[in-house]
């Protein structure tokens, strides 16, 4: 479906924790479980067939709404490693790369093609970030990803380390900028 928001991915009652892990059991909680905490029949992740799947296929604007990175942590903890959608909300898309989750956007036609395919049969795919390809038995679909983000995922780069290497530049900015002057009012 379209517009899957982060309130659905991880409802607010699970945002009270202070660590980064342990959210997988609460993924899509209100869709997966009834008010008594029993699995709801008919929700796809409750079908034993879909247990331990690593690729999530969805439509427009996935991850819209709240900026909660907990949504990414919940998907990752649950075992999802790749999300394929026609589009993503900006903050969610950014958050994915911080945890090593790969968000792939494809055209509407390609998304419909994949939905058709998985609607008929069990499909196994091989996804290569290096090659930027999704390999199916029938064909290979190419996807695009920005080279910096690709490198971050492939090499597991710590962005704070990268930034701190530019410390001189930040210091220079702080000295030179008129805007940074505003900040003297904060002491």
């Amino acid at each position: 479906m379209m517009n899957v928001d982060t309130d659905q991915i991880i409802p607010k009652q699970f945002l009270k924790l202070i660590q980064r892990s342990g959210y997988g059991d609460f993924l899509f909680y209100d869709w997966r479980f009834d008010h008594g905490g029993n699995p709801k029949k008919g929700f796809i992740l409750n079908d034993p067939k879909y247990k331990e799947r690593q690729v999530l296929l969805t439509r427009d604007n996935f991850g819209c709404g709240s900026s909660r990175e907990h949504a990414v942590w919940a998907l990752f903890d649950y075992g999802i490693r790749v999300i394929i959608a026609s589009s993503f909300a900006d903050i969610f898309y950014n958050n994915c790369f911080k945890k090593g989750l790969l968000p792939i956007y494809l055209s509407q036609n390609e998304i419909e093609y994949l939905f058709n395919l998985v609607g008929k049969n069990d499909v196994s795919v091989e996804i290569s970030l290096h090659e930027e390809t999704i390999s199916l038995t029938e064909k290979i679909i190419n996807f695009n990803i920005d080279s910096t983000r690709k490198k971050i995922l492939l090499e597991g780069i710590d962005e704070i380390d990268v930034t701190l290497r530019f410390n001189d530049r930040i210091l220079n900015y702080e000295k030179a900028s008129k805007i940074a002057d505003y900040n003297k009012y904060l002491v």
């Binding site: 517009n3 659905q8 202070i18 900026s67 990175e69 950014n94 704070i160």
Partner: protein, 479 residues
């Protein structure tokens, strides 16, 4: 070169342009952007501090970050102990982290506590031309001051704490002209304008962009109304909303705690006047014009903010909503089922169980004054439980000075302590399954206000009138 307001703020904050690796000649990469202002709260910061500590890093500029507790706090009597132990631990963790790293915190005991996007402007922390981030999507609110303000995830919170910068790909620019004349400016509010904009552009219409709102309708709005507009930019998918600062903005800033003092401020105002605007002939990546001549009060009927109609209309059929898009049709069917509504029912025929006036969208003094206009001398329907949650302790105090608390309490409203409350229901202010609520908040997602709860987004005036009548009404008839 002609520039947009957004270009100007962006350009003046670039530390490194378009690359993370200057040796690689990469010119399509993210830019390192300096962050002037950082707001934190209890929910999205604990993990950031934890890994900061783990890696032995410091907070680079502690004075550029301020903290408050808002998402998780009870809006009941503050002198009572916190009942929810998990919430308590999260609140205490923030206090401890702030103490350890030297960050100013306005916690539950502070007279300045409140929703992070209410207290930032209130304290004068939010200034034109600055970059502002917070681990909260509604950071777009601060764009009302001509600041580039956007929500970030927890890892980025950590990055800002450690480096005072953020890596970001430059969003595209999107101009929304708001033209025409509001027929009844008291009954038709900034909330109705932004809901009608989201109706037009859709929940992802602004994806990848920073929206600048312009036009004489916008210029005539107060700061509080401008904040309502910019606040909900994220509901249209935009990273940020922006309104160029003008006299209204400058007057708001005078005398606030962190605002520059008079003589300094005057100099800055001159600078802002000359620099913080889009050039008249600059080309935006996208332009839309909205005319408000015929704008009626807006009420959402579905489970995202674009599912909205005029109060004089009926609930649309999935086909009407979908305009030929099969996926949208399915979405509307699901929304109607979740909301337990039937196509063709007049909006004014929809009855509510709860009314919530609050949230970073609509909990400021002006919102409460507006709501009080329709409440005064009337009684809340016996079928409705209605609550007012002021955006901050300061808003609460100012409202009490004006006697608003008495007006609300006399009519049967609950008058509560400040916090995010039932906008997201992290505390005990939640809807029970099946309950229907007229809410001044920003999201009507499934379960947003409590699992199984049904949310209709409206303006404070509409919410107040709804509390009295027990159903939606055309508030233009009241004022």
């Amino acid at each position: 070169m002609q520039k947009t307001l957004f270009d100007r703020i962006w350009d003046s904050h670039i530390v490194i342009n378009n690359t993370q690796d200057e040796n690689a000649d990469d010119t399509n990469g993210p830019s390192l952007i300096y962050i002037d202002r950082h707001l934190i709260h209890e929910v999205t910061s604990p993990q950031a501090f934890a890994s900061l500590k783990q890696s032995g890093r410091k907070v680079r500029r502690p004075s550029l970050t301020i903290a408050t507790t808002d998402h998780n706090v009870s809006t009941d009597n503050r002198s009572l102990p916190i009942v929810d132990q998990v919430s308590k631990r999260q609140l205490e963790t923030l206090s401890r982290n702030c103490e350890e790293f030297g960050i100013t915190i306005y916690d539950m005991s502070s007279p300045d506590q409140g929703i992070v996007h209410v207290i930032g402007p209130e304290l004068g922390f939010t200034l034109p031309g600055t970059t502002i981030v917070c681990g909260d999507s509604h950071t777009s609110t601060h764009g009302a001051f001509g600041a580039l303000a956007f929500g970030i995830g927890t890892s980025e919170v950590e990055h800002v704490l450690a480096t005072q910068c953020i890596w970001m790909y430059k969003p595209r620019s999107f101009l929304i002209n708001v033209e025409g004349n509001l027929r009844k400016p008291h009954a038709i509010t900034a909330k109705d304008i932004i809901l009608s904009i989201i109706h037009k552009i859709g929940t992802d219409g602004g994806s990848g962009t920073v929206i600048e709102y312009k036009g004489k309708v916008i210029s005539a709005l107060s700061m509080e109304q401008r904040m309502t507009i910019c606040n909900m930019s994220i509901e249209g998918g935009a990273r940020a909303g922006l309104i160029a600062p003008d006299e209204t903005t400058f007057n708001y800033l005078r005398g606030r705690r962190y605002s520059p003092k008079e003589s300094e401020l005057d100099k800055l105002i001159e600078f802002w006047k000359n620099n913080l605007k889009s050039d008249s002939n600059v080309k935006f990546d996208r332009v839309e014009t909205i005319n408000v001549d015929k704008l009626a009060p807006q009420v959402t009927w579905g489970t995202n903010p674009s599912m909205v109609v005029d109060v004089t209309d009926s609930i649309p059929s999935p086909e009407e909503f979908a305009e030929g898009d099969e996926n949208k049709r399915k979405l509307a069917i699901r929304a109607l089922e979740y909301m337990n509504l039937e196509s063709g029912t007049p909006i004014t025929g929809v009855h509510v169980d709860r009314v919530f006036i609050g949230s970073c969208t609509n909990s400021r003094l002006e919102d409460l004054i507006e709501a009080s206009l329709v409440v005064k001398g009337r009684k809340v329907s016996t079928e409705v439980r209605a609550m007012i949650v002021p955006g901050s302790q300061k808003v609460k105090l100012e409202a009490e000075k004006l006697g608003l608390d008495t007006i609300f309490k006399d009519s049967g409203f609950e008058w509560r302590e400040s916090g995010c409350s039932m906008c997201l229901g992290m505390n005990s202010d939640i809807l029970s399954p099946g309950e229907r609520c007229a809410s001044t908040s920003n999201r009507n997602f499934e379960g947003r206000q409590g699992a199984g709860g049904r949310t209709h987004l409206v303006s404070p005036i509409m919410a107040a009138a709804c509390a009295i009548e027990g159903h939606f009404v055309d508030v233009r008839d009241w004022l």
